[in-house]
């Protein structure tokens, strides 16, 4: 009884979010194609139906309903906070499992029992980096944030957790998503004479670092997983940047295979969604083994029954948001060096 | 023959407005092209100029069939039109209006160069630096006429040139047209509602009614005929 099992994915494949959306899509595709090439899940081919939501909530709703009602998929991958939050009530109502492996807004943790996040919320990361910085004696901070959901969530968490860790926030300045001119914001932050700049931007970190260097600024720079960007790490301007890093390493063979296939590096979001897809495949596998139907409800329950997954990284679902290893890295000599290993709880 | 129309038929979309229009004009000849409102005079002129594509018939200029030429090519040959109503560049100054048209149309030994224009209409020289669109209606019409004749017009089609002009100017302008036609063998087609003034200088009169020519003859015949009833 070789069947096709269909899942959905609603990602921003066009518009300014498309860069990341495409990475996410490739991660899913890569995992699924590998699984299918290896004979599928219990002989069943897995197929993913991709929908483009342009990172907009209303398009996401349409896509969600399309996948749910016309294609009857039990599980949908999502990304970006706005769309995920918009779809969460529908997921609850229709009992469809929504898997987010990209967005980190704090509200995602509690938006719906059917929404699971395979990476920590931004708050979890910021708690960690705040403690670390305070421990290093960097207590006077300025915040650079992107003026959108993800960036503002980060800023709010810095404002909450950095003082809790004993620091002071001297200033904060936004930049626009998709804009790469950071100079005015950097200048204004520099004027507050901070010891460290806390960064909450999701794109263009390289440009930020280069402009920081060109302006001759000398305070420290710290951030979260968002700063993880191979081109930034390789650039001399990144020297000394500290950041938390959701650990998710790809074995070299896997990374090489990916590069051969897609012609680009296996970047962070590729790995995240590859990993999330593997979790889903594991859940499906168990359900089929136990002869249970594949529904949103059964997948949800099975996910928590299994609880711990060993994909690219060890990861555990105690709540809807997975507990994962979290490192503190510093960029040094063109490499991202781990200086401390922790966990997201 | 300077200009010859042969069974011209033209209109807008599916609507035929003029049909079977034929006449030919010798160099130096002045045609008063008359007819009631909506008869099809403007439509005929637009077809000759190339602004409308005739549905049938041919247009000969100097013996050459110009029916397939672009507007610009026809202008280059010397076919000129003073359009009805919107004959100036309102946002340019008077001097700019004149110079921009002169630059494209005035060659060596041209019949009308920039100084000739200012001699013809001294008020334009006075208002050189005024925005053309802010002049009075009559002043604008003078400028329009100037633009139409700059260079060497060989067949000048004037669509209601007297509109907005005070009587002193109308007479003078018509006399000028006659003089130029005679001295330079220029052909003129004069669409006019000021019939008396037009007939005074015309060699030939054509009256159009509902898209067809109903009278073709010299001014004396026209005066004598009962085609006046069409007015």
């Amino acid at each position: 009884h070789a069947d096709t099992i269909r899942f959905g994915a609603i990602l921003p494949l066009t518009g300014p979010g498309a860069g990341i959306g495409t990475q996410q899509m490739r991660g899913i595709q890569f995992a699924v194609e590998k699984a299918n090439a290896a004979g599928g899940v219990h002989g069943n081919t897995i197929e993913i139906l991709f929908e483009d939501n342009q990172a907009k909530p209303d398009q996401s709703i349409l896509s969600f309903n399309k996948l749910a009602d016309l294609q009857h998929v039990p599980m949908i991958f999502s990304a970006y906070s706005g769309p995920s939050l918009a779809m969460a009530p529908l997921a609850t109502r229709k009992k469809i499992l929504l898997v987010n492996a990209g967005a980190q807004a704090d509200k995602l943790a509690t938006a719906s029992p059917y929404l699971v996040n395979t990476l920590p919320t931004i708050g979890d990361e910021i708690k960690v980096i705040s403690k670390y910085l305070a421990g290093e004696g960097k207590k006077q901070a300025a915040i650079l944030f992107e003026n959108d959901a993800a960036g503002i969530a980060g800023r709010d968490d810095y404002q909450k957790y950095f003082p809790e860790a004993g620091g002071t926030i001297l200033a904060q300045e936004p930049t626009q998503f998709g804009q790469t001119d950071f100079r005015p914001a950097l200048l204004k932050l520099a004027d507050a004479k901070p010891e460290v700049m806390l960064v909450s931007i999701t794109a263009a970190a390289l440009q930020m670092a280069q402009q920081y260097k060109q302006l001759g600024l000398n305070f420290a720079v710290a951030g979260t997983t968002f700063l993880q960007d191979p081109t930034l790490v390789a650039d001399p301007s990144s020297e000394g940047i500290v950041h938390t890093q959701v650990r998710i390493d790809a074995p070299p063979e896997l990374a090489a295979e990916f590069k051969a296939k897609f012609g680009v590096e296996m970047e962070f979001f590729v790995r995240q969604y590859y990993n999330a897809t593997q979790i889903i495949l594991a859940v499906t596998d168990r359900l089929l083994t136990e002869g249970k139907p594949i529904t949103g409800e059964s997948m949800h329950d099975m996910l928590f029954t299994i609880g711990k997954f060993q994909g690219l990284i060890p990861l555990e679902f105690k709540t809807n948001t997975a507990t994962v290893p979290l490192d503190i890295n510093v960029m040094k000599g063109g490499k991202d060096v781990t200086i401390k290993q922790m966990s997201s709880d | 023959m300077m200009l010859a129309l042969n069974a011209l038929e033209s209109g807008y979309g599916a609507k035929t407005v003029v049909s079977n229009v034929s006449f030919s004009l010798a160099p130096g000849q002045i045609l008063a092209f008359l007819g009631h409102n909506g008869a099809g005079k403007t439509t005929t002129l637009k077809s000759i100029m190339g602004l409308l594509r005739p549905t049938a018939g041919e247009i000969l200029f100097d013996g050459q069939n110009i029916g397939r030429l672009s507007v610009a090519d026809r202008v280059a040959l010397g076919v000129r039109l003073l359009p009805e109503g919107r004959g100036i560049f309102p946002d340019l100054t008077v001097a700019e209006n004149v110079s921009v048209v002169a630059a494209r149309n005035v060659g060596a030994g041209a019949m009308f160069d920039v100084p000739d224009i200012y001699k013809l209409f001294p008020v334009l020289a006075e208002r050189r630096d005024t925005r053309a669109g802010s002049m009075s209606g009559g002043q604008q019409q003078m400028l329009a006429l100037s633009l139409a004749i700059l260079g060497t017009p060989r067949c000048l089609m004037l669509d209601e040139p007297s509109i907005g002009l005070a009587p002193n100017l109308v007479e003078r302008m018509f006399e000028q047209v006659r003089d130029v036609c005679k001295s330079h063998a220029m052909t003129a087609v004069l669409v006019e509602q000021n019939v008396a003034a037009a007939m005074k200088i015309a060699d030939r009169v054509i009256i159009m009614n509902s898209g067809r020519i109903v009278f073709d003859g010299d001014p004396d015949e026209a005066r004598a005929s009962n085609f006046w009833s069409y007015y």
Partner: protein, 288 residues
């Protein structure tokens, strides 16, 4: 100190946007087309320069190649698309939508070929830093941006008032019907205008990404600012467009000294709303 550096950065960005505004204004004043695809031409020129450099061409050749490509693209858009739409008597709104479509096509071809990621130029001299007086630092690229764009502005001024083509362009804009029958050949003039405007927008189109990197969807924001500069400066006024672009960027930059950055764009444009109420025809518009 801070103010001075912000001021200088504003001038750099403002000069680049100024030429975007001037070139956009050339098109708009002549054809009344809201040529949003101009943003696509702007973006494309950067990518062309980038890939020519990638293929080992020296910088000057790469830049000239980009200008040639943009000029051709502009002329093509006019000759193939806009001219046809005009012949079909399409309204300006319709042309605007077609232009939006063109922009989508250009952006997404770029996205498909070069991916949506940010591409950075690798020209070491570009990021060389110069220390000006008062602790102000500008990079080579920034200095070049100011010089080239100011020169371009001067060139356009000379061109539009000193040459007969400049007058023809204004004549065609003023009465296209008459332009046709006095042999100004409006169609050809329109193509010239688009070609010139596209070549012009290339200058910021290359210089800005030298500094900030290339993104396929990145031309829209500069175009938006340029549009506002063009209109607030008075449609048809080249100086107005150029100066207002600088004023807008300066307002955005300098407002940081007084208000939180979240509000700077909103407040800047609100100032323009108010400004337009008091000077409804723009700053440099000739009195009617």
């Amino acid at each position: 100190m801070l103010a001075l550096q912000l001021l200088c950065n504003g001038i750099v960005t403002g000069c680049a946007l100024g030429i975007v505004a001037v070139s956009f204004s050339l098109v708009y004043a002549t054809t009344k087309i809201f040529h949003v695809a101009h943003a696509g031409v702007y973006t494309m020129s950067g990518y062309v320069a980038w890939s020519l450099l990638r293929h080992g061409f020296p910088a000057p050749i790469a830049f000239v190649g980009a200008i040639a490509a943009a000029t051709a693209l502009g002329a093509l858009i006019q000759g193939v698309l806009y001219a046809r739409l005009e012949r079909r008597r399409a309204t300006h709104l319709v042309v605007l939508i077609a232009s939006l479509g063109t922009l989508a096509v250009i952006q997404n071809i770029l996205a498909a070929v070069f991916t949506a990621n940010i591409l950075q130029f690798e020209l070491p001299w570009g990021s060389q830093v110069f220390h000006l007086g008062g602790n102000v630092r500008l990079t080579m690229t920034q200095l070049l941006t100011v010089l080239v764009n100011v020169a371009a502005y001067g060139g356009v001024m000379w061109f539009s008032h000193g040459t007969i083509l400049g007058k023809q362009i204004r004549a065609v804009a003023s009465n296209p019907f008459l332009a046709e029958i006095v042999r100004l050949q409006p169609r050809r003039v329109h193509i010239y205008v688009m070609a010139i405007a596209s070549a012009l927008v290339c200058l910021p189109g290359i210089l800005v990404p030298l500094d900030f990197g290339l993104q396929p969807y990145n031309g829209v924001t500069p175009l938006l600012t340029a549009t506002i500069a063009m209109i607030a400066g008075g449609v048809g006024s080249i100086t107005g467009a150029f100066v207002l672009a600088i004023v807008i960027t300066e307002l955005q930059n300098m407002s940081l000294l007084f208000i939180p950055g979240e509000w700077s764009i909103g407040v800047t444009f609100f100032i323009f709303v108010v400004f337009m109420l008091f000077r409804p025809t723009g700053l440099f518009a000739a009195a009617r």
